[in-house]
């Protein structure tokens, strides 16, 4: 039983580390443009780095029919957009101060982070 309990505790530790403590790498915008694919439960890439104090445009392409995926929200920046299926939708991020802002679908099942540096 001891080993089972230890395994359980380790499993919990892995969950905590994997979902909350791990810092995944981000993808920087190149040549002022970046495209995010909305597919199979995730944004690809999900961490996007854009320059501060400059207007940037992120193009979202939703190829997931799930209705959950159709709304994109960046609450901190008061931005929301409807992503049509298989349509490229350009979302303009106004020139902003450095900071980190979550972007997600209405139900927060799709989550990503916008890093303004």
């Amino acid at each position: 039983m001891l080993w089972i309990n230890v395994a359980g505790v380790v499993l919990i530790a892995i969950i905590v580390w994997w979902f909350w403590l791990y810092k995944s790498s981000d993808v920087a915008m190149q040549n002022g443009a970046i495209e995010v694919l909305v597919k199979d439960g995730v944004y690809k890439p999900s961490k996007i780095k854009i320059p501060a104090n400059e207007e940037s445009t992120i193009t979202f392409l939703r190829s997931d029919a799930s209705t959950c995926a159709e709304t994109l929200q960046i609450p901190d920046l008061d931005i929301n957009a409807t992503l049509g299926l298989n349509k490229k939708v350009k979302v303009t991020i106004p020139a902003s101060k450095p900071g980190r802002h979550a972007f997600h679908c209405q139900m927060k099942m799709y989550v990503g982070e916008l890093i303004i540096e």
Binding site: Y22, G41, P75
Partner: protein, 788 residues
């Protein structure tokens, strides 16, 4: 996809461009070259091509671009909309050759991939329908296996593995279940895997883990039953298949129910006309709405929709604007009056000049605003958002703890109890219900408000409007019509009425104040022509002064007269008597002596009394605000049933009054026409702009009431309260569901009642919890604001 097409065209073109310089001959070579591929197909129909042009900075660019396009072989016509930087070309021609021609002319161009709201809606409905059918197909496949298995387990036999024959049968069923997982549940597993790689977790993660655990455990039982005690040799293939089937069914029904939440926006989009009858070269031609250009003359016959915004230049009619403003009575329109897209011409035939087209029309702006507001979240949703961020990993931890607890303290077979409880915890938890609780209600509530002619800017305004305790109503234009009329002219001894009216009209002709306009209008009606004054000065909140010939003219309120030392003692009683009749008396002095009192009255809107009573019945304290004198203010307030008012308030003091009430602890709504009360509207907890009609001056207001009636205000508050109640019901339901469901799934009731939830029941509960939220939000569609 459409963008990809753009890129392709652009790259094709850049290749052409590198080989050419901007000379006419070469241009012709390119265009004819680009045309070759089309010329091969002589049956190609005349087509419309829509392009967007970049770099066109002046109106003269229009003719240059149009000329360049008309020079391309096959082009029949080319028209550019400078305001939208778009160009529409008809002809038997390729997009590439058109782009080339524009680039040679010195500009950049690409295919206009933007689609109309209606096209986008059609696409969405089509893709939702396909998704629904896919989910129903997935559900059917899963339940075809799951239901017979469940019936067998419940009524016919044991789902245990004891003999070699049973092992073989269950192994086959295990493989069939794997097929169901692949064909019907693949999206859950792919989504879960992608999320996992992304260090995030969502509903897919829980479903994949729950069904995956049940299947893996069952296959272990089938593969190596001897490793497990006799009582633990139970298989759960039916749970895996049933859960996948039920969750697909829940998602399918949710897609259907979600479609209904956007009924209001569908109705708004449906108001847009598809074609317009444009007069060109003295001929009426029907063209698609997206091809209408600014300043086009458009003919509309009785019963037809107004296609774009414009100004009537010919004819007279009544227009039904109820679909936008909620105002049931048709509005008379004649020369110089504005008409707006989406409204219906009722009686006469008119010609109007297009002043706003495409995405600039009031209807397009309303649709855009409603869409934005529907996607925004009120602060009440923040807690659910914060919880959502941690929800799934926490549920995974609870599942592990639950399994450990059963293994350590549970009865035999502990392993089975551990597996069942962990699976059930993973399956029953529903982050979607939490996530959907707020946005679904906002979607329906904002749409419902739009149907009543109430435009709510965002979720925050919606929430705050439901909490308003005090409503400030600006008098002029809000409680009253805002179109005052002269009712009395009381002359001093020796004064001539027509002469005084001429002088008064002359000085007031320079003012834009509604009272001044009433005097000018009155003089006009009586055939008195105003003359040009000199030295016109407006004294804010008090009046105006000017000179005419040798006379100095001073027109304004009691304060102004006192400031300038004009004796009005002999007229004070008369002025007070007029004020007591809800009229506004104004003093007119000529050469520093009082010459007359001119009284103006602004009729109270017919339904203001009812609407104010309705607001008061809902517990809202009403305060009237006016620049008028106290007596007039009191008379108006008494007439409409308001007991509190601020009178003689200068325009710049309006915001102070809002602040004063806020300091008293009130949640203050401010309603005005947005003309001189923008600071007060901005300072109020919720600013309501009233009676803007279809001219959507929404920037200074949180909520715009498109009709002039104060019932719109009562409707707005009723809808916001109903929406907030709906959100609270949804959040409460979603929280309670998870807070109660997860512990029950973990087995907390087992020690007391011997009750442990079946994973299939958990799957059904999870599938229908989010459906319940969407269905509850849909109840708002039947809410009737006018009954509250």
């Amino acid at each position: 996809m459409s963008e990809a097409k753009n890129d392709e065209s652009a790259s094709k073109h850049s290749c052409c461009k590198s080989k050419n310089v901007a000379t006419n001959d070469l241009a012709k070579d390119i265009t004819s070259g680009a045309q070759d591929s089309i010329d091969d197909n002589s049956n190609l129909a005349q087509q419309e091509h829509h392009l967007t042009v970049e770099g066109a900075s002046c109106a003269s660019c229009v003719s240059k671009i149009e000329k360049a396009l008309r020079g391309v072989d096959g082009v029949q016509n080319a028209e550019m909309n400078f305001a939208q930087r778009s160009v529409m070309v008809t002809g038997n021609v390729s997009d590439a050759s058109l782009i080339t021609a524009i680039e040679i002319a010195g500009y950049n161009a690409k295919i206009d991939a933007s689609e109309s709201d209606e096209e986008a809606l059609d696409e969405k409905e089509k893709s939702d329908w396909q998704y629904y059918r896919k989910l129903m197909r997935d559900m059917t496949i899963a339940l075809l296996l799951g239901v017979p298995l469940m019936i067998y387990g419940l009524f016919i036999g044991e789902m245990t593995v004891n003999t070699t024959g049973e092992r073989l049968v269950w192994f086959t069923i295990g493989l069939a279940t794997l097929g169901v997982m692949y064909f019907s549940g693949k999206h859950f597993y792919v989504g879960a895997w992608n999320s996992l790689k992304n260090h995030s977790a969502n509903m897919d993660t829980l479903i994949a883990l729950g069904t995956g655990t049940a299947w893996v455990y069952s296959m272990v039982v089938v593969a190596v039953p001897d490793l497990l005690p006799q009582m633990a040799r139970h298989v759960y293939f039916e749970a895996t298949a049933m859960i996948i089937g039920l969750i697909n069914l829940g998602l399918a029904l949710e897609v259907k129910a979600r479609g209904k939440t956007s009924d209001a926006i569908k109705r708004l989009i449906g108001l847009q006309a598809k074609t317009a009858r444009v007069i060109r070269d003295d001929k009426d031609i029907d063209i698609p709405i997206k091809n209408v250009l600014l300043n086009d003359l458009i003919r509309v016959r009785p019963g037809e929709k107004i296609s774009v915004d414009g100004t009537v230049v010919e004819g007279h009619t009544a227009v039904d604007e109820s679909m936008l403003t909620g105002e049931p009575m048709p509005v008379e329109k004649g020369n110089g009056d504005k008409v707006v897209a989406g409204t219906i011409n009722k009686s006469g035939s008119i010609v109007f000049k297009a002043t706003r087209v495409g995405k600039d029309t009031a209807l397009a702006q309303i649709i855009n605003m409603v869409k934005r507001a529907q996607n925004s979240k009120p602060p009440i949703g923040r807690l659910a958002d914060a919880i959502s961020a941690y929800f799934v990993p926490v549920i995974m931890i609870i599942a592990v703890i639950s399994a450990l607890a059963w293994l350590n303290f549970g009865p035999s077979p502990a392993l089975v109890f551990a597996i069942v409880s962990a699976t059930t915890v993973l399956i029953i938890a529903c982050p979607c219900a939490l996530g959907l609780a707020t946005p679904m209600s906002v979607m329906v509530g904002v749409g419902k408000a739009a149907e009543a002619g109430v435009l709510i800017r965002n979720g925050e305004a919606l929430q705050t409007a439901s909490k308003i305790t005090t409503m400030i109503l600006d008098k002029t234009g809000t409680i009253t019509e805002g179109v005052p009329k002269v009712t009395d002219v009381l002359l001093a001894d020796g004064q001539d009425r027509d002469h005084i009216l001429m002088l008064a009209a002359s000085i007031e002709a320079g003012s834009e104040h509604p009272l001044a306009m009433a005097i000018v209008e009155s003089a006009k009606e009586q055939g008195v022509a105003p003359q040009k004054v000199s030295g016109f000065t407006s004294i804010a909140g008090k009046g105006v002064e000017a000179s005419l010939d040798d006379s100095t003219l001073l027109f304004g309120n009691e304060k102004l007269m006192k400031d300038r030392g004009i004796n009005i003692d002999g007229f004070l009683d008369k002025a007070q008597a007029l004020a007591a009749e809800a009229k506004t008396p104004m003093y007119f002095a000529v050469n520093k002596a009082l010459a007359a009192i001119i009284a103006v009255a602004d009729p109270i809107k017919t339904d203001s009394i009812d609407a104010i009573a309705r607001l008061q019945k809902n517990g809202i304290r009403i305060v009237m605000l006016t620049g008028d004198n106290r007596l007039t203010a009191k008379a108006i307030a008494d007439k409409v049933g308001i007991s509190e008012f601020f009178a003689e308030v200068m325009p710049e003091e309006k915001a102070d009054k809002v602040a004063q009430l806020q300091e008293e602890g009130e949640v203050v709504g401010m309603t005005g026409d947005g003309i001189n009360d923008a600071p007060a509207l901005a300072l109020a907890n919720v600013g309501f702009a009233i009676g803007t009609g279809t001219d959507v001056a929404i920037e200074s207001a949180d909520i715009t009431l498109m009709r002039g009636s104060l019932h719109g205000l009562a409707d707005a508050i009723a809808v916001s309260k109903a929406t907030l109640t709906n959100i609270k019901q949804n959040l409460f339901g979603a929280f309670i569901y998870n807070v109660a469901g997860v512990p029950i799934a973990a087995g907390v009731l087992y020690p007391f009642f011997g009750l442990l939830l079946n994973p299939v029941i958990a799957g059904a509960a999870m599938a229908f919890s989010s459906l319940t939220v969407v269905t509850n939000a849909n109840r708002l569609r039947f809410f009737k604001a006018k009954d509250h």
